[in-house]
Structures are given as structure tokens and as C-alpha cells.
């Protein structure tokens, strides 16, 4: 049994209730921002912003559409962040949440580099910085309660539940309205599947979602990590393994912009 979220972008109104509910529950401070000619703010995820709405104006001839997409940790089924963590600060809970133990974190930022979605963020302003990211509101899950973002969503754009049930819902929705949805549940298969999945009416690459195949990245990361003892002294050596992942990610990203949707398996 594993929990998940289905984010149906066709229902999102960009109200950003989720963005603030996350800060409210997790007691995260506001960032200093400025208007860069867009509604989107803060400009990216950070140690203070674990989820946010990205705004996409998509022009199609004279027609314009405006799509809002919630970004944040996908709680991968096989999280490369956890595999990359040399001190075991990050781990996947049996219920699916990928969480971390701040006390163990040594601030090496391997997870940040390993994550295929660029999620973990470093507390740059802290004297003893840690990595921060969405915890799936683990303290709420422990109380049998849904994450703050899912609860606050007015339109049901964020649906929380059993991952399998959500997958069924998603498939049913696509089947019923093939005219409305692109035939793709983002996160069903990507990097071995993620707990947070998306439905959309516009192709995901137009929304800046990276294109990944079904192969979980961490499998390789894990091997690379286990090749050397996990001590701080060997961080530089480890970089080699991590570097491999990052390179692979960058390569895949560039393939995506070339219009290639399925990266070749077994590469590298």
C-alpha cells in the first residue's frame, strides 16, 4: 500500500491555496521576491518553498491558454535522492512518502544533484544548512490526514489517495475524455513511477516537465554509492557516481528538447 497524489491540471485554477497551505502547515517563511512580468512567484523551489505553482501561457495561433502546474517532490517509488544520500538521511517510508532526517544530513547536496526533478533545496542562509523538501506532510499522514496542499485544493485538482486507485481514476478520466486529456499520466512510469502523478490537456514537455523513461535512476546510483564506503572522507570519489546521474539527466533533458520522448534504455 502506497499513497499518492493525482494532480489534474485541467482542474487547477492557479489559486495557490496549496502553495500557502504548505507554508502554513510547515511553518515556512516567505521569500523576498519581485514581479518579473509573471504571476509566478517565488521563481523556484527552495528551502522555504516546498511546492509552488508554475504559470504557463501557451499560445496556439490566436488562441491562448493558461495552464497552472504544481511543482514539488514527486515521492518517487525508487527515489534517487535517498539512494544518493551517503548518510541515510533520506528514506522512503512504507506508505510512500520520501522523507528525511535533518539530524543526519551533512549538507553534501548529493540528493539535490541526484534528483531527476531538481527538488531538494539547500538552506543557503543557515549557518548549519540542511537539505529541505516536501515531506508529503508526513506528520499529517501519521495522523491519518491528507497533506495540507491536497486538503486545501478547492477544485479537486489535487487528489490524495492510494496510488493504485488514483491510477485507475486517471485512466478512467483519460478514457472518458480523450478529447480533453493528452494520453499520458506523468509519473505513472517516469523514473520507475512516482507517487505524485499528473494529468494534463497540453503535452507535458510544453509545461517544462522533463522527459524520462520508465527506468528508475537510483538503481545505478545505488550501485555507484555502494562501491565505496559512505563516509565523508570519500565525498570527492563519490562525486564520480553522482556526476554520472547528473550527466544522464542533462542528456535526457536535452533529448526532450529535441522532441525525443523515450530515452533509450541501458544507455551508459
Amino acid at each position: 500500500m502506497s499513497v499518492g497524489m493525482l494532480i489534474d491540471l485541467t482542474k487547477c485554477i492557479g489559486c495557490r491555496g496549496c502553495q500557502i497551505a504548505c507554508k502554513q502547515w510547515n511553518e515556512l517563511p516567505a521569500e523576498k521576491t519581485h514581479n518579473r512580468g509573471s504571476y509566478e512567484n517565488p521563481p523556484k523551489l527552495s528551502d522555504k518553498t516546498w511546492t509552488y505553482i508554475t504559470f504557463h501561457e501557451i499560445a496556439d495561433g490566436s488562441r491562448v491558454t493558461w495552464v497552472f502546474a504544481k511543482d514539488g517532490c514527486r515521492h518517487c517509488l525508487e527515489p534517487s535522492c535517498a539512494s544518493a544520500c551517503i548518510v541515510g538521511a533520506l528514506h522512503k517510508r512504507p506508505d510512500g512518502a520520501v522523507v528525511y532526517n535533518a539530524h543526519k544530513c551533512i549538507g553534501c547536496r548529493y540528493c539535490e544533484m541526484a534528483c531527476p526533478f531538481g527538488i531538494p533545496a539547500f538552506q543557503w542562509e543557515k549557518p548549519v544548512p540542511y537539505i529541505q523538501k516536501c515531506t508529503f506532510c508526513e506528520d499529517r499522514l501519521d495522523q491519518g490526514e491528507e497533506p495540507a496542499c491536497a486538503k486545501t485544493c478547492p477544485t479537486g485538482a489535487i487528489e490524495f489517495g492510494e496510488r493504485n486507485d488514483l491510477l485507475q481514476t486517471a485512466h478512467a478520466r483519460m478514457k472518458e475524455r480523450p478529447d480533453k486529456y493528452v494520453n499520458h499520466i506523468y509519473g505513472e512510469k517516469e523514473v520507475g513511477g512516482t507517487s505524485v502523478m499528473y494529468l494534463s490537456s497540453v503535452p507535458f514537455n510544453k509545461l517544462g516537465f522533463p522527459t524520462y523513461g520508465p527506468e528508475p535512476l537510483p538503481r545505478y546510483a545505488h550501485i555507484a554509492m555502494n562501491a565505496v564506503p559512505p563516509t565523508i572522507g570519500v565525498v570527492t570519489v563519490l562525486m564520480g557516481g553522482v556526476y554520472w546521474i547528473i550527466k544522464r539527466r542533462d542528456k535526457m533533458m536535452s533529448q526532450e528538447t529535441d522532441g525525443v520522448t523515450e530515452p533509450t534504455e541501458k544507455e551508459g
Partner: protein, 998 residues
């Protein structure tokens, strides 16, 4: 016994349970277990928009530590938008003021003062100003008993009970310049909907949107301004409804629409007029409904005419109509004549057809800039709801209300809905989306110059006696089938006087009628007039309760300048706003400003107890979670302390006319006001034994009346607001009910035991029109009420008479909804006029381009822009992330983070023309002033081709000012000082400006 979550909650749940008699079913969402982080939970209602979402407040160590959506609340079901989600930051904000402050004349700083000192000083100034500016009689020697030297604005941010107290205090002092947010946000709604249907409020309610087949959102950006409404819009869409968004900008609402129609700001009547024509031309109207429930069959005086943009009876020098030809033909008994075949050339139906025959799609497209294809698509999809078993709803807000012809735009939508048979129906209605948590309540309590609580009329000096006053405002009908509900006016008015003056209101003294301030027949004291009077130096003392006119009023530079002419100002607020700090605004030397300013710290919603009324007319109780921050105090306490002091001063030194003040029934104790006691007064009670017409006592003295049917004109009852009668009766506080079961047999989502709705807990008003005259619902699947042979089932019917016994629109003297609305100042049918400032001539009648009946002000600050100098159409809007003048939201870091700067939206075409880059700084200028903003260049805006001219448009949020965590130009510096012909709501949604690189 298993402990339910409800038992865990400690917000006076006992009362709630007693009233509802049962435990609410936890069916709405998963129950939320107790968290370790806090030890106490209370229920409250969101203090921002008027969706009225429920919030649970978690408290630990007397501090708010968590706020999140109330999962039991039937409207939001645990959800909250970004503003609602940030309430914990509001409660704990360090930006709040927590001590009374004083700014001496010419001083450049605030000084902390004690409450006692501040209140004593203010009381002295109130008395001095009142006495110095007292008008005992008007020029004709009739009693006036008013002061024009004192003014008060605010507030929709007050609880109902506080509004009630404030009305009593201000009227008691003789204040006639008495206004608030409702004037500048939805006054035209009241004028249009009351004229069309009889009551001035949103006809249906939020949850009911789910029942619609077609949703037209126009003049509103509901997804951004009322995000939780989209819970219900989304439900409707999931059931197959079509969503149509008509807007000058492509908004977050448009992003969810099936049809988006771009339209030049201000061209709404043309677009809706085209829809009327389309419905009539294609026979898409709901004939049975139109014949039985509207005045379409009624015959109008043959002398009634319309030509060259003017209706019959126009007097250009007075800019006023003589409406004598806008009248029904009647039989010898005075009953209006009807032609149910709708063929008579003088019947309303035929006049309507003729009037809108000019609104063909080509013409409309030339005016609105919308393509013909899009217009037809909108018309076709929406008019499909004219089928008897289909229903459509219209959601609108300030995009409609804030025009010189705002009332008429809403009237046009009422006509569309009446033709399609969509009023009184589940999933139908003309739904005015109100933007402040209690603006419906503050409107109902009538913090407005022209009306008294419950929409009774403010006496005029010509209403010399109570008798004459009652005769003047009590309509008569000779039609035995007309319920003519306003025939009960005397019962409500006398009960109001009994509440005002208590024992001092007796049959011998006309129940204290002569103690009331009376306004001049011809003088308007509304918002724009108030600031004109202040600018002219006639107003000396000014109260701003939870309102920030330095940012929210049109032509803001004038409002700010006007404040410099005050002797003193009292600002009651959570924050030091642009209004309280007008003397230290940019470009002003404080030494030059002689106004004394008192800034009093108010408690925030979770720090007090009382009710607020959402847009759907639900009065919902809020419980107190924590003590007020620092030395801040509930507004009710402040009002009470002031009145106690002022009355003491009058006892010591009577001055010219102390009677109205000292005879006021002001008994709210020496300390905190018991708002439940006030709520009971609002409901009304028996002062003496209340008897039926056989002389039997139906309510013994001292008991609460059950509802307004027990109010009397003989002085045996007192009631602060007849509309709210039934909200707190002998059954308890009905507004505190929390039973979230939908008891309606067709599950249309009435939730009739959750809180309480006016009138008499009726959830969908005009519901008699949802049935034919046999009492059979037009749409049996989604019926609102139905006659079962003995009685009505479903919602509380709009009058309990059997079907056919009375006409369905009981608040109108003729008993029918008005397609022809003779009561409005600028015409019985809506006509397209251009805004006061427009880049184009009116192509329907170039010689009568603008509305003929609105007032034009003449001071040197009331400047009009020339289209040659200011060729761009400007409009204003709001954001999800900020609220109103921004006083609340620009002080909350989480919200500032999302929308940190003032900006202006424009099309890439305009930006290219002006060399403006996205994200760059620009200056926007109008004839009134200029502001700086960040350019947001977006394809969501587009230029329009209007009758051959290319017209550009820019749009700006109006949330910014010079105080708070983020500061920026106020859009209202640009907006014009003209208002609607009927209500003087300023025309802030369409004006002229220019834009250039900074």
C-alpha cells in the same frame, strides 16, 4: 462512547448541537484528528471574500498556531484559497497596530496614547463638531436634526452585530454622510436586482452553482476572486455544464472556460442586448415562465417612446427623466392590463423586441470588439437554457457594477434570465458575487446614507410626520393576487424606531420618529458626494472603520487631498493604512497637514464573536479563538465606549439639540459588548405582549419574536433589522447551526440547517417562480419547491400561499418580475452607452453617447481625459493573492511573496508599439494622475477593432498604495470621479489612460 471530532472542538459546540438537535454527519471529508500542536479548536469564517468558507483555528498557549479549512463546512469542505490559507499569519502579524495612536496637527509622527485619553478626546471632538454643524431645520423650516460636518465610512469588515450598533450610534448622532464599501462595490446590484425581482441580493448561493447547465461568468473573475466557487463550478462542469467566460482579459476563470469571449471593457450592455435579440429572434425564451412570472404581458402607456438614445420624458438641463410615460396601463381598479398572447404592440414583450431589434450581431461586434462567431457561440450555448428543464446561472461582480450604467448592465442580465426562465430555479439566478466577508450583512444593515436597516428608507425632510413617511414608502396594490409584501413596511419601520429609542419611542411621539436625522430631498450624500464635500471643507470630522478610502476610492488623489481639509480623523483598523497615514504620503510635508488623526487598533475576526453574512445570504456565526492582540479591541467595544462618553458629555453640557443622543436606547453595558445580546436585538423581541388580529397573545412580553411576521406597528415589538428576524429567536442562535446534512429531497444542496439565511432561512429566493401556476416544478429533477396538494415541499417557499393564489414575485407591488423596470433613473430598458471616458462614439446614437442621467462633478480635481491624449482603455481588477486596498494582504509576507509588485497587463502589440519590455517599469497616466508599475506583457490581452478603430486596453490590479510590506502605485489614482446614474458607484472599470516606458 467514541469521541467524535465535533465533541473535541471547543467552540461553543454545545449551543450548535442543541439548536440542530443532532450531530452533524461527518460525510463531507475525512475527520481530522486532534493534533498535538494545539489544544483548542474554534470555528470561524474566512475574513476575506464573501464565499464564507469555514476555517478551523488551532490555538496553543493563547496563540493561533494553525488555520485550515473546516472539513465539515458545506461550502468549502476543508478547502481554502491562498488568502484563506494565510489567516494564521494575519492573526499573529507583527505589522498590526496594537496600541491607540495619535498624530497631532502638523506633527510628523505617531504617538502612543491610552485608550481612555483617545476615547475621551474623540468624544469631545464628536460633540464639538456635531454641535457646531448642527442643522435643526432645513431651509423650509422642516425638522432636519442632522449634522453634515461628521462623516463615517465602513465597514463590510465588521460583524453584523457591529454594523447594527454602528448604525444606531451614527444615526443617533445625526450623521447623514454615512457610507461604506457596499456603495463602491455592489450598490448598483441592489438597485438592479431589487428593481427586477424585489430584493437586492444574490438570488441563489454558492453550492447551488453545481446545479447549472450553463454558467456565464461575465463582469467577474470568480476563479481568482472567489476561488472556492470553483469547487462548485467544477462540479457543474463534471456534470456536463458549459462554462462561458466573457472578459476584457483572459483570466484564471477564462482558463477553465469552454468558451472565452474577449470584450472591450464597458461594452457589456451591447453584448447582453444582442443576447436578448438572439433569444427573441430564435424563440428560445421560456414562454410559460415569461407569461406567468414576468411583466412581459403587461401593457405600457402608449406614450412611452425611445428614440436617439433617449426614453420619453428626458430633461437635459436637469439630466433627469420625467417617468410618467413609463407606466402600466391599468383597469378601472388600478390593476395592470395584461395580454398573455404577448401580441399587443404596447405590451412589455413587444416593446422589448423593438428595443433590442437594433442589437444585431454585426452592430454588437462593432461595439464590443468580440468576433461574430464567438458572440453567436455564447448566445447559442447560453440561450439553450431557455428549455424548461434546462437552467443557467450568471455570476458577476465589479466588472458590471462599476460603470455609469452599472445598474443597467445588471438589469440586462436580469432580463436575459427572466426570458430564459432562470430565476428562482436551482442552478439559475443572477448571482452577485460579493467580495467582502460581510458586505452582504453590512448592506443589509444599511451603512449607507439612503437606507435604514432592512432596506427601509432614510427619512427626508419632506417626510414630515411618521404617518407621511409610512404612506410615502408603503406601496399599494389593488390586485388581490399581489402579495405586495412591502405592505408590511410600517411594522418593520416602527419596530426599528422602538429599537432605536426604546422607552422613549411611544405612540404619542410618533415612536421617536422626529429624533431621527432627515436628509434633504434633493441632496445626495453618497461616496463621491462625501469626498466632494470633504474636499470642499464642509466635513470636519471623519471616521473610517475598517476601510481605506485613500486606496479604494475612485480619483484617489482627490480623496487624499480632501482628507487634508478635515479637522480630525478617527481610523479604526488592524493596520496603519494609506488613509490613517495620508498626512505622510509621498510628496506631502506633514507640517502642512493640520488634521488630527486618531488610529485605534481593532481586533481581528478570530479575536471576537459575531455573525457575518456571505454572498449567498447565509449569516454564519464566528467564535472567538484568542484574545485580541496587544491592546487592540473589538469594534463593538470601541463604538460602545465612544457612545458612553459622548452621551455623558451631553448630560453635562446639553448644547443645541441633545435629545436625539440622550434618548437613544444605548444599554450595552460598561465593558465588552455582548454580541449575542445585539444579535437578539437584530432578531427582534416583544416589548409588550404581541397579539394576533383576534387579540390573542402570540408572543408574551420579553420573548424573542419567531420571525418578522410577528412584528407589529403598534409599538409592541422592537427589531433592529426585520430581514434578520428569525436569526436568533426562542429556538436559539440559528446562525450558529452546524448541521451539514442536505435535507432537500432532490439533494440540490440547500443545507438548510447550516447557519441561517435571510429571509426566513429561504435559500433560493423567488422560488415560487420555479414552478408553474399549478405548483409543478419546471424541472422536477432539480426542483426547489413543489406543491404536494396540501403544502409546499423543499425550500422555504417565497410565501406559503397555495400555487396560483398569489403572483410569484411577492416583493413587487404588481407581483411580477420586471423586464420593464420603470423605477430606474436612466430608463426602463437597458441601453448601450459608452463610458464617460471612451475612445469611440456610441454607434447606436452618436449624439447621446453616454448615459443621460449620471451626475457630473465640477471641482478642479474632477478632470476628464481627452481620447486624443489618452487613447487607451484602462480597467482595474483584483488578484487572488491580494484583497481590496491591500491593507490586509500587503501586510502578510506569504501573500506579498506571491504578488510582490504593482503591475499593469498589456498586449504584446501595445508593448511593441511603446517599446515596453515584459518586466520593465512603465508609467500609466490618466487625466487624474499617474502611477508607476511593472509591465506584464501578455497575450491574455488583445487590442480590439471597434467600428474600424484599433483600440488598446490595459488592466491593473488596484491593491497597492504607500503603506505595508509592499508599496506601489494605486490604480485608483487614475480612475474617474463619475458614478452610476442610480447609485453613484464610481466608474472604475472603464476609463482612458496612456502608458509609456518609465
Amino acid at each position: 462512547m467514541k469521541l467524535t471530532r465535533r465533541q473535541f472542538l471547543k467552540f461553543g459546540g454545545a449551543t450548535a448541537l442543541l439548536v440542530s438537535g443532532r450531530l452533524p454527519t461527518p460525510a463531507l471529508a475525512a475527520p481530522r484528528p486532534a493534533k498535538v500542536r494545539w489544544t483548542k479548536e474554534t470555528a470561524t469564517i474566512c475574513p476575506y471574500c464573501a464565499v464564507g468558507c469555514g476555517i478551523i483555528v488551532g490555538v496553543a498557549n493563547s496563540k493561533v498556531v494553525n488555520t485550515e479549512g473546516d472539513p465539515d463546512h458545506p461550502i468549502n469542505r476543508g478547502a481554502l484559497c491562498s488568502k484563506g490559507s494565510s489567516v494564521s499569519q494575519l492573526a499573529n502579524s507583527r505589522q498590526r497596530i496594537t496600541k491607540p495612536m495619535y498624530r497631532a496637527p502638523g506633527s510628523n509622527k505617531w504617538k502612543e496614547v491610552s485608550w481612555d485619553w483617545a476615547l475621551d478626546e474623540i468624544a469631545k471632538r464628536v460633540k464639538e463638531t456635531r454641535d457646531a454643524t448642527w442643522v435643526e431645520k432645513d431651509v423650509k423650516g422642516r425638522l432636519a436634526r442632522r449634522t453634515e460636518g461628521l462623516a463615517s465610512v465602513g465597514s463590510a469588515a465588521l460583524d453584523n452585530e457591529e454594523c447594527s450598533l454602528l448604525v444606531k450610534a451614527l444615526r443617533g448622532l445625526g450623521v447623514v454622510y454615512l457610507e461604506h464599501q457596499a456603495r463602491i462595490c455592489h450598490s448598483s446590484t441592489v438597485a438592479a436586482l431589487a428593481e427586477s425581482f424585489g430584493r437586492g441580493a444574490m438570488t441563489n448561493h454558492w453550492i447551488d452553482i453545481k446545479n447549472s447547465d450553463a454558467i456565464l461568468i461575465m463582469g467577474s473573475n470568480a476563479a481568482e476572486q472567489h476561488p472556492i466557487s470553483f469547487h462548485w463550478v467544477t462540479k457543474a462542469i463534471e456534470h456536463g455544464a458549459t462554462l462561458i467566460s466573457v472578459d476584457p482579459r483572459f483570466t484564471r476563470t477564462s482558463s477553465k472556460a469552454h468558451i472565452y469571449a474577449p470584450m472591450r471593457a464597458g461594452a457589456d450592455i451591447a453584448l447582453l442586448g444582442g443576447m436578448v435579440k438572439y433569444i427573441l429572434d430564435n424563440n428560445l425564451y421560456h414562454r410559460e415562465y415569461v407569461v406567468e412570472h414576468t411583466n412581459a404581458p403587461l401593457l405600457i402607456d402608449p406614450k412611452f417612446k425611445f428614440s436617439d438614445g433617449l426614453f420619453s420624458g428626458y430633461n437635459p438641463s436637469k439630466r433627469k427623466y420625467d417617468k410618467s410615460t413609463w407606466a402600466y396601463q391599468t383597469d378601472s381598479n388600478g390593476v395592470p392590463l395584461r395580454d398573455t398572447s404577448l401580441q399587443d404592440p404596447h405590451c412589455v414583450f413587444q416593446l422589448l423586441r423593438k428595443h433590442y431589434s437594433r442589437y444585431d450581431v454585426d452592430t454588437v461586434s462593432q461595439i464590443t470588439g468580440t468576433s461574430k462567431e464567438t458572440l453567436i457561440k455564447v448566445y447559442k450555448d447560453y440561450a439553450a437554457t431557455g428549455a424548461p428543464d434546462k437552467v443557467g446561472t450568471i455570476m458577476y461582480a465589479m466588472g458590471w457594477t462599476q460603470h455609469t450604467y452599472g445598474t443597467q448592465i445588471i438589469r440586462a442580465s436580469a432580463i436575459v434570465q427572466l426570458l430564459l426562465g432562470n430565476i428562482g430555479r436551482a442552478g439559475g439566478g443572477v448571482n452577485a458575487l460579493r467580495g467582502e466577508s460581510n458586505v452582504q450583512g453590512s448592506t443589509d444593515h444599511c451603512l449607507l446614507f439612503h437606507i435604514l436597516p432592512g432596506y427601509l428608507k432614510t427619512p427626508r425632510t419632506s417626510d414630515e410626520t411618521l404617518d407621511r413617511y409610512l404612506k410615502h414608502y408603503t406601496p399599494a396594490s389593488s390586485d388581490p393576487k399581489s402579495a405586495n409584501w412591502w405592505q408590511h413596511y410600517p411594522e418593520y419601520a416602527v419596530s426599528l424606531l422602538k429599537w432605536m429609542y426604546g422607552k422613549n419611542a411611544t405612540p404619542e411621539n410618533e415612536f421617536g420618529y422626529q429624533l431621527m436625522p432627515k436628509i434633504d430631498d434633493e441632496t445626495n450624500y453618497s461616496w463621491l458626494a462625501l469626498f466632494e464635500a470633504m474636499y470642499a471643507g464642509r466635513i470636519k470630522g471623519f471616521f473610517a472603520w475598517g476601510q481605506n478610502p485613500a486606496v479604494s476610492g475612485a480619483n484617489a488623489n482627490m480623496a487624499r487631498k480632501a482628507m487634508e481639509n478635515l479637522d480630525w480623523m478617527v481610523a479604526v483598523n488592524l493596520w496603519d493604512t494609506e488613509t490613517s497615514s495620508f498626512w505622510q504620503r509621498p510628496g506631502v510635508n506633514p507640517a502642512d497637514v493640520k488634521t488630527e488623526v486618531f488610529l485605534l487598533p481593532a481586533a481581528v475576526s478570530v479575536e471576537k464573536e459575531g455573525s457575518i453574512t456571505n454572498s449567498g445570504r447565509w449569516a454564519q456565526w464566528r467564535w472567538k479563538a484568542v484574545k485580541p492582540l496587544g491592546d487592540s479591541k473589538p469594534d463593538s467595544w470601541i463604538m460602545n465606549q465612544l457612545m458612553i462618553r459622548v452621551r455623558k458629555l451631553y448630560q453635562a453640557d446639553p448644547g443645541p439639540d441633545p435629545e436625539p443622543v440622550v434618548k437613544l436606547a444605548w444599554n450595552y453595558g460598561p465593558g465588552e459588548v455582548d454580541t449575542r445580546q445585539v444579535a437578539r436585538e437584530v432578531n427582534g423581541w416583544a416589548v409588550g405582549d404581541v397579539k394576533d388580529n383576534k387579540g390573542n397573545v402570540i408572543v408574551p412580553a420579553g420573548k424573542q419574536v419567531k420571525n418578522f411576521t410577528q412584528l407589529r406597528a403598534d409599538g409592541s415589538t422592537a427589531c433592529a433589522n426585520w430581514l434578520y428576524s428569525g436569526s436568533y429567536n426562542e429556538d436559539g442562535n440559528m446562525m450558529a447551526r452546524r448541521d451539514n446534512t442536505d435535507y432537500h429531497p432532490a439533494s440540490i444542496g440547500l443545507y438548510s440547517k447550516w447557519s441561517w439565511a435571510w429571509p426566513v432561512n429561504r435559500r433560493i429566493i423567488y422560488n415560487r417562480a420555479s414552478c408553474n401556476i399549478k405548483g409543478e416544478p419546471f424541472d422536477p429533477k432539480r426542483f426547489v419547491i413543489r406543491w404536494n396538494g396540501k403544502r409546499w415541499e423543499g425550500d422555504v417557499p417565497d410565501g406559503g400561499w397555495p400555487p396560483g393564489a398569489k403572483h410569484s414575485f411577492i416583493m413587487k407591488p404588481e407581483g411580477y418580475a420586471r423586464i420593464f423596470g420603470a423605477g430606474r433613473a436612466d430608463g426602463p430598458f437597458p441601453e448601450h452607452y459608452e463610458p464617460w471616458e471612451s475612445p469611440v462614439k456610441n454607434i447606436l446614437h452618436p449624439d447621446q453617447s453616454t448615459d443621460p442621467a449620471f451626475k457630473i462633478w465640477k471641482s478642479e480635481m474632477d478632470r476628464k481625459g481627452d481620447p486624443k491624449k489618452y487613447p487607451i482603455v484602462g480597467t482595474t481588477f483584483r488578484l487572488t493573492e491580494h484583497w481590496q486596498s491591500g491593507a490586509m494582504t500587503r501586510n502578510l509576507p506569504w501573500l506579498v511573496e506571491m504578488q510582490p509588485d504593482m503591475f499593469v497587463e498589456m498586449s504584446p502589440e501595445l508593448a511593441a508599439e511603446k517599446g515596453i519590455k515584459n518586466g520593465g517599469k512603465v508609467i500609466v497616466e490618466s487625466a487624474r494622475g499617474s502611477i508607476e508599475a511593472v509591465a506584464l506583457v501578455t497575450r491574455r490581452l488583445q487590442p480590439f477593432r471597434l467600428d474600424g478603430h484599433l483600440v488598446h486596453q490595459v488592466a491593473m490590479p488596484w491593491h497597492w498604495g504607500y503603506k505595508g510590506l509592499t508599496t506601489g502605485g494605486s490604480a485608483n489614482v487614475l480612475t474617474p470621479p463619475v458614478g452610476d446614474a442610480n447609485t453613484m458607484i464610481p466608474e472604475t472599470k472603464a476609463f482612458l489612460c496612456d502608458v509609456r516606458k518609465a
